[in-house]
């Protein structure tokens, strides 16, 4: 491998996201096996003060411009792509998050570098190789990369954020770039508070697409309330308008850590799992024995949720 390991950082409201620190931890692991330097790209306006939080990087490449104050999809993608084209890092690590999804393919395309997406681990000890998730977590793939440079879009959880969260004083290098027009930020909207806060519940009954219709949710919701908890959902249930956004668990929803998380007809796509994998006890019910949710659950039952729910209701009423 040639060149540095470049971590593309992500921040909102003056705070780096966990994804940033996970990538810094991953980068430091790769630095040990390759001897390469760890660099971090920090893009924003007036963000120089944040560089001390990037102690896990040896060098920070700082791009500041008023047009980049808030995340700017086309602007950020183009300036980071320009940086990569210029400095030719060996490995570029982009978080597979909402901002990373705007940047990774652009960066790779502009420098004609291979891009490995849905990446969960990287091996740079002999050439470049990685493991990835495909088919919403149903398949795991080993991939090898041509050449000695590549961009990796890395799934949440590839390394521990705590290992990359280090204060320090990395070398800071300011880079001047021109920001293209095309997309401009006009506002940020915070979520409305819901009737129920699913992040503080002891028990969550979580319905996925397997619930099939809005009408079927009622019985599960009653059961959840009887247990002193609440009903939550995967994304498709919310996108159908069957439950409000405040009940969504996952990447674009909320991160939950209840004592008991009971999944009913949830497949366990990586975007869902990143919002629930730290729950104390995870129980999954799914008709598909291959469902990836069984890979993160502590307890599983292969079967039909519509057979199970009435049985559960009977037992709990009886007690």
């Amino acid at each position: 491998m040639s060149g540095a390991i470049l971590v593309v950082t992500e921040h909102l409201g003056g705070q780096f996201t966990d994804a940033t620190f996970e990538l810094l931890a991953l980068a430091n692991g790769l630095a040990t096996s390759t001897g390469a330097e760890v660099e971090a790209a920090l893009v924003g306006a007036d963000v120089a003060g944040m560089t001390t939080q990037l102690g896990a990087a040896g060098r920070v490449l700082l791009i500041e411009d008023p047009a980049l104050e808030s995340f700017n999809p086309h602007g950020h993608a183009c300036v980071v792509a320009g940086l990569v084209a210029d400095r030719e890092p060996g490995i570029v690590l982009v978080p597979y998050t909402s901002t990373g999804m705007d940047m990774a393919s652009h960066i790779a395309s502009r420098s004609d570098l291979p891009l490995v997406s849905y990446c969960q681990s990287i091996d740079a000890s002999a050439g470049l190789a990685a493991t990835c998730q495909l088919y919403a977590g149903k398949i795991e793939a080993d991939v090898s990369v041509d050449g000695d440079r590549a961009v990796f879009a890395v799934l949440s959880g590839a390394a521990a954020a705590a290992d990359g969260r280090r204060d320090g004083s990395p070398t800071v290098e300011s880079v001047t770039v021109e920001v293209p027009g095309g997309t401009s930020f006009t506002g940020q909207v915070e979520p409305e508070a819901g009737d129920v806060d699913i992040t503080v519940q002891d028990v969550l009954l979580v319905v996925g697409r397997g619930i099939e219709s809005e009408d079927n949710i009622e019985e599960v919701a009653e059961l959840a309330e009887a247990l002193g908890g609440a009903v939550a959902a995967s994304r498709p249930v919310v996108d159908q308008g069957w439950l409000p956004k405040t009940r969504q668990v996952g990447k674009s929803g909320l991160t939950v850590k209840p004592k008991v998380y009971l999944a009913l007809g949830v497949s366990g796509a990586p975007e869902h799992v990143e919002g629930m994998r730290d729950s104390s006890t995870i129980i999954a019910v799914n008709t598909d024995p291959q469902a990836p949710i069984f890979g993160v659950a502590h307890h599983g039952w292969v079967g039909d949720l519509f057979d199970l729910v009435p049985e559960l209701a009977d037992l709990l009423e009886g007690s």
Partner: protein
């Protein structure tokens, strides 16, 4: 506004997946294909934009299989003005190859907005929407959950995380990766799909096999050991319910036993 929407047939996620003999790909012989779920949202958002502003929606897909044809005919039945099949038997293509085909096909047309699904679950080498925007030199926004027309182009809402969203003004032409439409995708009656079949709105354009190489090779795939760390509960639903109640009680939720 003239809108393009790119639709992709992906292996049906509810089917049991089996590996080919050398375990480098799925065994595709008996695989069923369905429309990528996010593309259904991209189509819905395209139709809503057309309803807002007038103009047209053209759906594109690569390939000529029955499934691809079915997806395009359904798009016409839902309200797309035209649908285009690109290429013949090009085999399984990665995202780089697909973006090359779309760039060639769309570069000659004057669509102001190109809507794609935010991601498809079956390739590893990138997201077509963003690869395409880089090829065409158009601005882009991904993870989009709503669009509306403005004097200068489009205003789009992008989802960050934890329910936080941001809005952007976007200059046209632009490429958008749609995560979810403003409203749930519409259904269409089978009778309408049959009518669409004979509407003459579906055409086919010859395409040469792309030269792009992603530089990424899948050397092996496997089905992750399901329930690797999980204890599987055996028995029927009654037995399962009893065990689950015991687990709830052990965790101290749902009141004392």
């Amino acid at each position: 506004m003239d809108i393009a929407v790119l639709l992709r047939a992906v292996p049906d996620p509810v089917e049991e997946l089996e590996l080919n003999d050398d375990e480098t790909d799925l065994d595709r012989d008996y695989l069923g294909y369905v429309l990528n779920e996010f593309d259904d949202h991209a189509l819905e958002e395209a139709l809503l934009l057309k309803e807002d502003t007038g103009g047209s929606v053209t759906a594109y897909a690569i390939g000529t299989s029955d499934e691809v044809e079915q997806i395009l005919v359904t798009a016409i039945a839902k309200g797309a003005d035209a649908a285009v099949k690109l290429g013949d038997d090009l085999g399984v293509l990665d995202a780089h190859a697909q973006s090359e085909i779309f760039a060639a096909a769309l570069g000659e047309r004057s669509h102001q907005a190109i809507l794609c699904g935010v991601q498809a679950s079956d390739e590893i080498d990138g997201q077509v929407a963003m690869l395409l925007s880089a090829r065409l030199g158009h601005p882009h926004v991904s993870v989009v959950v709503a669009t509306s027309v403005t004097d200068a182009g489009l205003s789009v809402t992008k989802e960050y995380w934890a329910g936080i969203t941001a809005t952007y003004d976007v200059r046209l032409p632009a490429v958008l990766g749609i995560q979810a439409a403003r409203q749930a995708p519409r259904y269409v009656a089978v009778s309408r799909i049959r009518q669409a079949q004979d509407s003459g709105a579906l055409s086919e354009v010859d395409t040469v096999a792309p030269a792009s190489s992603s530089g990424v090779t899948i050397t092996a795939i496997r089905i992750p050991e399901s329930g690797a760390g999980a204890e599987m509960i055996s028995g029927d639903e009654t037995a399962a319910a009893e065990q689950i109640v015991a687990l709830l009680q052990a965790a101290g939720v749902g009141g004392a036993p």
